[in-house]
Every structure is written in C-alpha cells, then in structure tokens.
C-alpha cells in the first residue's frame, strides 16, 4: 500500500486548492505549485504536471481566466485570475467538502470515544 502522503487526491481537490490560492492573488503556474506545496508543508505530493490539465479544465469552465504577463523573475508567463463564477464555485465546493470531511471525521471518531 502507498504511503499516506502519496495518496491520490480525490477528483476536484486540486481544482479546489487552485481556486483557493487564486482567490488570494493572481498567480502563474509555477508559482501556484510552489504555493500549494509550501502551504501544505509538503504533505501533498503533487506531480507538478498535473496542475496544467486542471488549469485547462478551470479555463474551459470559465472559473478562471488567464493573461500573459511578466513574473517577478522577469519571465513571460501566463497569470491566472479567479472569476466571479470561480469564487462562487469555490465557496460551494469548500462548504460541501467541509460537510464531507465532518462526516468522515465523525465516523472515524466512533471507535475512540
């Protein structure tokens, strides 16, 4: 069995985290990965490449938009921004995720009390 840290994310988790990061500030791909890694304190091993299909899905669903710009290291990069729809979507996702998490936590807590 895989180590817990390497467990695959559930579908939509990556998208949710991307949206959350973008809610704080517009970012380009590389920076996004770095932020997620850093914020999760490396608990989540995300294959960096998997970010891009997720970004494309969000673009297609018009939850984010992208513009070419210049990064802090003076590089031509595509910077992603949350749209209004994306913000709404994020809220819904987060609350449903929290409900799910609460449910799971309660079930897991049964044996211990």
């Amino acid at each position: 069995m895989k180590k817990a840290a390497q467990r695959d994310l559930f579908p939509g988790a990556l998208e949710m985290m991307i949206l959350r990061m973008l809610k704080r500030q517009p970012l380009h791909g590389y920076a996004l990965v770095q932020y997620i890694k850093r914020t999760s304190r490396d608990l989540l091993q995300i294959e960096e490449g998997s970010l891009y299909p997720a970004l494309q899905r969000l673009l297609k669903a018009e939850l984010v938009k992208a513009e070419w710009g210049v990064s802090s290291t003076n590089r031509r990069v595509r910077i992603y921004k949350l749209t209004a729809a994306g913000a709404k979507h994020l809220e819904r996702e987060v609350s449903s995720f929290e409900r799910m998490l609460e449910g799971i936590t309660r079930v897991l807590a049964v044996g211990e009390s």
Binding site: S50, Q56, R76
Partner: protein, 893 residues
C-alpha cells in the same frame, strides 16, 4: 465561446500551453541552479517532479476536445496509412469487397424496385386484383389467372358492392391504325367505366372517359399512352380533339396518360372504352381482369366476403339465354381470392428474386471470410507493432477500435467501388434483362439501395474485422515477443481461425454450386421437353388482323388470308406456310368453351369439360412441325365448302376414346345447334402455356365456319418455315408479299418462334444466369481462400519442413502432407455443405423442373468438383514446400 471558435483557436491554445509548460520547467531549473545544483542535475530534477511532459500536454489538450470522435479520426488517418503501405493486400481486399457489395447492391436494387416499392399509382396499397378461383371449372380456371370476370359479373360487382370505392375491368388486344404513316398494329387496352377511376392516375393531357363514352353507340373516343403520343404525335398537346383511325373508324383522342403509366404490368399504346351493351349480356364470358380500389380501412377478407355475397345475386340477375339453368355455375364453386394488385404485378417472380438475393448474400459471406483471412494474416504480421503499442500504454479497447476502423474503412471503400459496379450492372440488366421480369423499367439504384450498400459495407467491415481484432488485440506481450522471433513453430491455435474460415467458405460454395447445378439440370430438362413444334429458329411469325370495317364478308377474309399464304409460300426459301389463331406460348388471351362429343351423355345441370380451342389453316401443323399422330390435316376445299371437320390433340383423343386412331371419325361440337364436326386428324400434344406447364387438351377448328357459330377468324398468326427466317431481307419480302394482297394490313409481332420459346424459358434462364454468376464467384473466392491458407501455412512451416527434409523426409511425403491438410479442410467443408444444401435447396423447389431439390447427381458432381479444385489450390504451395532447401529453411532467422 462557441464550439466552432474553440475548434479554430485551438492550435494557438496548444502552442501557448507548450510555451507555458516550458517556462515552468525553465523557472524550476533556474531556481535549482541558483541554489547551487548543476544545470544537468537541475534539469533531471525538474522533469522528475513535473512528470511526463507529453502526457501532461496530451491530457491538457484533451480538455478541449471531443475525445471519442477525434481519436476515431486519428484511427482513420492511421488506417489510411497502413492500407496505403500494403497496396497488394488493400487491392485484393478492396476488389473482393467491391465485387461482393456490387453484386449485392445490384440484386437488392432489383428486389427493392420489383418487390418492395409500391406500384406507380396514387395510394397503391388500396388497389386489389379481383382474383377468383373456380375449382369446378376444369381447364378454364387452371392457370395463373384463375377465373376471370364476365361483363355481367362486372356490372353486378360495380353496382352492388359495399367495400370498394370504384371497380372496373380491362382486357388487352390489338387494333389496326391507319392514316398516319404505314398501317400499324397497336397494343390496345380495353377498359370499362370505373377502371381508370380505381387506378386513380390522372391523364397528362385531356381527361378520363365519361360515362357517355362507355355505352354502345356513344361517342367513340380513345386515350393515348405517353410513349405512343411521343412516337406518333411528337408530344403535341393539340392532339386532343383530333381523330385516330382505328379499325378503319375514326375515334376522337380525348386524353394522354402520363409517362410510366401501365396497366399492372402491361405496356400499351392506346386505351379504348369497352362500352358493354348492358341489355345483351349473359352470365358467361369470363375474359376480363378486374381491378378495384378498397374503401379506406377495408380488409381483403371483408372484400372477399362482399364478393361471395354478390355471386348469388349475379346468378339471379342474368342468364345464359332462355332455357338455360342460371345456377349451373354453382358447380364451379367460384370463390373470391382478392389479392393486392402488387402481388398480381409481381406474379411468381418474388420467390425467384429472394432466392437470388439469398445466394448473392452467401457470396458476400464468402467474400467476407476471404478478407477476414487476409486480415488475420496481416494482423499476425503486425503482432510486434501491436505489442509495442500495448506496451506504450494503448488499452486493448483502443487497439480493437483501431483494427475495426481499418476494416470498416476497407469495407466502405469497397462499398464505393461496389456501388459503381452495381450501377453498371443494373443498367446492363435493364437493357438486356428478361422481358418477363415485371417492372423491369422501374429498376434503379435509389436512396434505399444506397443505404443498403452503406449498411452492408459497414457490417461486412465489422464482420471481417472482428475476428482478427478479437484474436490479436488482447496483448499477450510475452507470447508475441517470443513467437515474433520465429524460433518456435506456429501454434495450433493460430491456425484454427483460418481453417474455420476455409471450411465455412467451402460449405457455402457447395450450397451455391448445388443451386446453380440444379438450375442447369432444370434448364436441361426444359430443353428436353418436346414443345409440340420443331426448329423454332427457322419458324418466322407475324400477326395480321383484318377488321370487319375493312372487309365485312367472312369468306373474303379467309380468301385474303389464303392469298397471303400463297404469296408467302412463293417467297424463295419458304418451305411451307400456315396460320393459326394463336401460336403456342404467345400469351394472348386464350379461348375456352364446353366441347361435346356425339357419343357421350352430358347432364343438363352441369357444365361439360371446358377445352382450349383454336382455328388453324390447312398446312399449319406441317409448317409448325406439330406431328400428326393419326388421320390427316384439313384441306382448303373442305374449308371453303364449310365441311364440318375438326382436329384434336392426342391427350384429348386418349381421354375421350382411349387411342388416337379410335378418335378418327368421331364427332364433336361446341353449341347445341352447331353441326357435328368429324374428327379427321389427331396431332401431338403442344405445351401451349409454356414448357413448364402440362399440355392442355386442344380442339382445332377450321378457319371458316358456318355463319352464326364462328365466322372467319380475323386475327391470326402466320407461320413460315424458312432457313432465312428473321433476316431483314426476308422480312422485306414478307411485307411486300402481304401488301401485294392488301396494302392496308399492318404486320405485328414479327418475330421467330425461337423468340417466343426463349421468352417462355426466360424465368429459368434468368435464374440460371444469376445463380451461375453467384456459383462462379463462390468457387473463385473459395479457391483463393484455400490457396491463401495453404500457402501461408507452408510459408510458416518452412522451418519445420526444412527440419523434416534434413531428417530424411522425401519430397513426395511432404507434398502428401500438405495436400492432406487441404483435402481435410475441403472434405469437412463439403460435408457441412451437404447438410446445409439439403435444408436450403428446398427453398428453390418451385423453380425446379424435372429434377428434385436433392438430385444426387448434382450433389455428387459438385462435391467432386470442389474437392478437386481444393486439391489443385493446394498443389502449387505444396510444390513450393517440396522444393524447400533445408539449409535455407534452417537459416531462415
């Protein structure tokens, strides 16, 4: 964003994506380098942490796509590439498929046009033929037509029915038209009131007949067919109101029917009203075809019940003259058997066409088996490629789909060529097809036939693609990698599929060849039947009619006919000449009546047996080659002297008096007040209704009889025996001879007896040709199949054969070994074929004549033929096996 702009902006989106990913990698590398890593190490790390760049790009792009379709398009372009890289395989496969689909599409378009499409009338499904049977009327109602309607029946049905919108009767005939160019005999259809209304087709120009034109002594009118209008009047619309001189009397042209309008399946030149004299009708006169249009929602059963209800009314309303029993027809047991008009038009051709369709379908299966075999061989050669693809992560579903797309494409391309072939063959069929194939002119490749070809292409593509796909797409990496090295012999399992296909092909080819063989035997049996005339090739026929408007007096009619005979006999090369009211197999409406013998007793309450009768001139029997069995032919002096003499057929003589010679001197008559006619000659039986039908009992009256019974017969077929029959020069002299007697007489139906005879065999010869083609195709494809499998096996076994040779096997042993393998396949195929044929040939029972569906000779001959051919197909590759050089074979790696 609409999907269209999405589609077009995609290319840019993809390149942006690549740029973005590249930037990501660069940034990461530079960061690592800045932290003190070597550039090479940094680049490795970046790629490791990023994952598969290609896959990432692929799945990022996939977000924007419609994956199933685009994958298929990719499969298609890949398929096109592989097909292009194997031109020989592709050509052979394409050709096989194209021929198969072409044949199937052509036959289907015939089936579709003849059997499936509705007749060319408005709401044709409401139209019915008023068919009725009369088991008690021996002879009269024997044949295909059943008991036709009499005029009094028509009036009863038309006036008393509760189930028809309208109803009418019709009959065909001929008439002389003069005053246009040369005198001409035209094909006439006589119709009663209600018939055109029932058919419902409006005239192209002008109007239908009015009721006033359907009574005797009303205005005399005529309607033209489209073809006759074009031919004689150049399509001039001003023709309405002009007169057409028919039978020397003017008739006003009141209408032109539209192009393609026919009576059921009869072409015609003009339509003339019947104008029955209602006051003079009797019960009898059963000579008219009835057509009716059902009221909406009425079933055929209800219409039958309606007719059955009206039959007693008919018998009560009319009689056959004073002192006759009106209810005599109850003994005939007349029963209505109404059937859809389409069925009437198609006749017995439906069964034949389905048999042909079935055989051609089997040919398609054989073709598919062949292509499947080719595909198997090829997929086997591609095993390594497939294994590599599987190893690179292609799922087996994807590989199966790739293979299927390839085979369906092959099927579709074959279908396109096949439709071209079908167009050509349908054109050929329409121009040269058997004249008695109903609705021949309507045959074309329409949308439905094209749809059929499309479905067939796809289905056959799937069929021959499925076997190789299922067999090889499932990745068996280790096996494939090992056997691709050819260091082990080919496994038994790999041969099983191919052997199965070959056995199936041989079995199907057997069935088809047996059907074709049975048709050959049928044709032979028909040719062997003595038709009652000889050397049809050299018997020239023509039909001449002398209307009473031209010549009134009966005896003068006969003298003119006699004069023509003399002139004809004087033409150089004419051995003899005679005339008859109708030649055998000519298909004109025949004449039947009760015939009484002087020495027999007949009950007044029943109808005497009905006999077919004709009028013949002296010398006719000799000219036609109808053998005299006893007695002699009549002479001209007897004819002019009105001597009561008659000739009969051998079967009638035997039925009435036991032997032909006993009949000579006996007496016959048709009506009670007619003089008794003495039987002076008995002639051999003649197959009047076609070679397949039994010869009817016949009475031959003289051409001229006393007034009041049957005055001179005015429409007759002249027959001349000459080696020059059918040549243009001869026909010129014949025309001059006729016109030297009377220049107003048109010649019609000018042809040799061979043409008439050939037409009566047309159904059989058409079936024979079609099944022959199917059989030949099956045999060829079967040979190719066996040859392919055996030669492939041999090439696969080179190494094994090399070892055997090295170990001391003789060439002859190897030859035997390979031949034995082929023979085994062929024998198993034949054995299955015999069982299948026993079941399937039953379906064509009705097409056979003089041979059973289980004819042992045919079965044996086909079995021997197939096995021999199979051995021959094995022989060539076997020779190659024998000549294998052991050293080369062993070094084959």
């Amino acid at each position: 964003m609409s999907w269209l702009t999405q589609l077009f902006s995609r290319r840019q989106r993809y390149s942006e994506l690549s740029e973005e990913i590249q930037a990501h990698l660069d940034e990461k590398i530079e960061e690592s380098v800045a932290e003190g890593m070597s550039r090479e190490e940094a680049s490795h790390l970046a790629r490791r942490e990023f994952g598969n760049v290609g896959l990432t790009e692929e799945s990022s792009r996939e977000v924007w796509r419609w994956p199933s379709v685009e994958d298929s398009l990719m499969d298609v372009s890949y398929g096109v590439r592989t097909l292009r890289h194997n031109p020989v395989f592709t050509a052979v496969g394409l050709l096989t498929i194209a021929v198969g689909i072409g044949a199937n599409a052509a036959v289907f378009s015939v089936v579709n046009s003849v059997l499936l499409k509705p007749l060319n009338y408005p709401k044709a499904e409401e139209l019915v033929a008023l068919h009725q049977t009369a088991p008690g009327a021996a002879g009269l109602a024997d044949f295909e037509n059943g008991l036709l309607l009499s005029p009094s029946m028509y009036f009863t049905y038309a006036e008393q029915n509760r189930t028809f919108q309208s109803l009418g009767v019709w009959v065909t005939g001929t008439a002389n038209v003069t005053g246009l160019a040369e005198p001409e005999q035209v094909r006439t259809v006589y119709v009663s009131d209600g018939l055109l209304q029932a058919l419902g087709t409006r005239p192209e120009v002008g109007r239908w007949f009015s009721a006033a034109e359907q009574i005797p002594r009303g205005p005399e009118t005529v309607t033209l067919s489209y073809g006759y209008w074009q031919r004689r009047f150049g399509g001039d619309r001003a023709v309405i109101g002009r007169n057409l001189t028919m039978e020397s009397r003017p008739r006003e042209i009141i209408g032109v029917m539209p192009q393609g309008f026919r009576f059921v399946d009869t072409d015609f030149d003009v339509i003339v009203p019947l104008a029955f004299d209602r006051g003079k009708l009797i019960l009898a006169g059963f000579g008219f075809h009835g057509i009716a249009r059902l009221k909406p929602g009425t079933t055929i059963a209800e219409a039958n019940a309606d007719i059955a209800r009206m039959l007693p009314i008919w018998m009560d309303s009319w009689s056959n003259g004073p002192g006759t029993n009106q209810h005599i027809y109850e003994t005939w047991k007349i029963t209505p058997m109404i059937r859809p008009l389409k069925q009437e038009a198609i006749g017995n051709v439906g069964e034949l066409l389905w048999v042909v369709m079935g055989t051609i379908g089997v040919v398609m299966l054989i073709a598919c088996a062949n292509v499947a075999n080719l595909m198997l061989v090829r997929v086997e050669a591609r095993q390594q490629e497939l294994t590599v693809r599987a190893a690179l992560g292609a799922g087996w579903g994807r590989i199966v789909r790739g293979l299927l797309v390839e085979s369906v494409m092959l099927g579709l391309m074959g279908g396109v060529i096949g439709v071209g072939l079908a167009y050509a063959s349908v054109r050929f069929l329409v121009t040269t097809g058997p004249a008695n194939l109903p609705r021949l002119g309507e045959i074309s490749i329409d949308a439905r036939a094209l749809g059929f070809a499309l479905v067939l292409s796809v289905l056959s593509g799937l069929l021959f693609g499925l076997l190789p796909a299922l067999k090889y797409a499932v990745p068996r990496t280790s096996l494939a990698l090992r056997s691709a090295g050819r260091t082990i012999s080919v496994s038994r399992e790999r041969h099983r599929a191919r052997n199965l296909l070959v056995v199936g092909q041989v079995a199907m080819a057997f069935v088809l060849l047996v059907s074709a063989g049975l048709m050959i035997r049928t044709f032979e049996a028909l040719r062997a039947v003595e038709p009652g005339f000889t050397d049809a090739q050299h018997l020239q026929l023509m039909r001449i009619s002398i209307p009473d408007s031209l010549i009134q007096e009966p005896e003068r009619v006969t003298r003119i006919q006699h004069g023509i005979l003399d002139k004809l006999a004087a033409i150089p090369g004419v051995k003899s000449a005679g005339f008859v009211s109708e030649m055998p197999m000519e298909g004109f409406d025949s004449a039947w009546d009760e015939i009484f013998a002087e020495d027999k007793v007949y009950s007044a309450d029943s109808i005497a047996p009905l006999r077919l009768y004709k009028y013949v001139s002296p010398g006719f029997m000799q000219t036609a080659g109808t053998r005299l069995v006893a007695g002699r032919e009549m002479t001209w002096s007897e004819v002019y002297a009105l001597r009561p003499v008659v000739m009969i057929s051998e079967n009638l003589a035997r039925e009435m008096w036991g032997t032909p010679s006993a009949a000579i001197g006996k007496h016959l008559r048709e009506f009670s007040n007619m003089p008794w006619h003495e039987v002076i000659g008995v002639v051999q039986d003649v197959r009047e209704k076609g070679v397949q039908e039994r010869a009817p009992e016949m009475v031959y009256w003289p051409p001229l009889m006393r007034d009041g019974f049957a005055p001179a017969v005015r429409t007759v077929t002249f027959a001349m025996r000459s080696d020059r029959a059918g040549t243009e020069g001869f026909l010129d002299e014949v025309r001059q001879a006729v016109w030297s007697v009377n220049s107003n007489l048109p010649l019609a139906s000018v042809r040799t007896m061979q043409a008439v005879y050939g037409k009566s065999l047309a159904r059989t010869s058409f079936t024979l040709v079609m099944l022959g083609i199917a059989g030949a195709m099956a045999l060829t494809l079967g040979i190719i199949g066996i040859y392919g499998v055996i030669s492939y096996t041999v090439s696969q076994r080179q190494r094994e054969i090399g070892i055997r040779l090295a170990l001391g096997a003789q060439g002859g042993d190897l030859l035997q070994m390979v031949l034995r393998q082929g023979a085994k396949l062929a024998l198993v195929g034949v054995a299955i074929g015999v069982c299948a044929a026993f079941e399937l040939t039953r379906l064509m029972r009705n097409l056979l004549f003089g041979v059973t569906a289980y004819d042992p000779l045919t079965f044996a001959a086909v079995a021997v033929l197939l096995v021999l051919v199979a051995l021959l197909a094995c022989y060539i590759p076997s020779r190659r096996a024998m000549l294998v050089d052991p050293i080369v074979a062993l070094r084959y790696e």
